[in-house]
Amino acid sequence: RFSQNFREVVGRFLASEASSHLLVFDMEQRLPPHSELVQAVLRLFQEPVPRAALRRHERLFPRSDRARVTVQWLHVRDDGSNRTALIDSRLVSIHESGWKALDVTEAVNFWQQLRSPRPPLLLQVSVQREHLGPLASSAHRLVRFAPQGPSGGRQGEPQLELHTLDLRDYGAQGNCDPKAPVTKGARCCRQEMYIDLQGMKWAENWVLEPPGFLAYECVGTCQQPPESLNFKWPFLGPRQCVASETTSLPVIVSIQEGGRLQPQVVSLPNMRVQTCSCASDGALVPRKLEP
């Protein structure tokens, strides 16, 4: 606004009142301790619009019959402040009714990063105009989802579906047994691998410490999920044995500084494998929750 380079940009705030309601899901005991969340699906039951209201809407807005449904994850902090994160959004038509699915995997990933004891999972569902602007219709007023009832179990009540894999079957097994050679088909594990720096010509007289280090490597294979899972998520590649956590390696090198040789510490990132896991290419890498 105060820059000399830009003409002042004037905007109009178009009120897009939205109907929204808060869904509360108790998550305790819902995720088994040694399981990996593959996907969390929120199912909402869209109630049919009465015919008379449909006809009235069509007379007023013949070309616009959709509304936007948005899900946000709501986190109420200990100090009472709260924050939201956009999780999923999709368009629904007022001519449809029945179960609508939204992907809320990221919301559950965020919830899993909270400190225990964790609060219930809070999802804010809002229905807004399909777009802002003079031609936008009020279709969003006709979209209604069955609410969450106090007693639970009502027909059409919102459902949270959690798809998990049991890591006792589909995960890695920690460190390889140093006494047992890793055979073909062995389960993914972290194997010792020593890197001898003294044997590297370029390191001579340059790298002072360490003479070598244990880098480890991930070896072995991973059990593939059942066919049904692959069918549902075609974008997921096969599960592979990968380094899911690595750590840096500090070294001391000799550096020419001020006309004389000085020892200096340098940290090389991702040089040592801490954890091996079975992971699919294309799988969602959970966003880190900001503190």
């Binding site: 340059w206 790298v207 002072l208 001391i252 000799s254 020419q256 040789l261 340098v266």
Partner: protein, 55 residues
């Protein structure tokens, strides 16, 4: 982890484009000061804790 990857990482961290020529005699007389060694050991111990996400 390959030898090239280690060398590339070291050159990158030191903003060098090639391996420096270091005189062997100069290195033999070189003593690592206590504060440099302490920094190295501290990083080594912290490395076992701080974890970065791989793939």
């Amino acid at each position: 982890l390959t030898e090239e990857q280690i060398l590339d990482s070291l050159l990158q961290q030191l903003h060098l484009s090639e391996v420096p020529i270091v005189d062997k005699a100069a290195v033999e007389g070189l003593v690592i000061p206590a504060h440099v060694r302490a920094q190295y050991v501290a990083l080594l111990q912290r490395g076992h804790g701080a974890r970065s996400r791989g793939k």
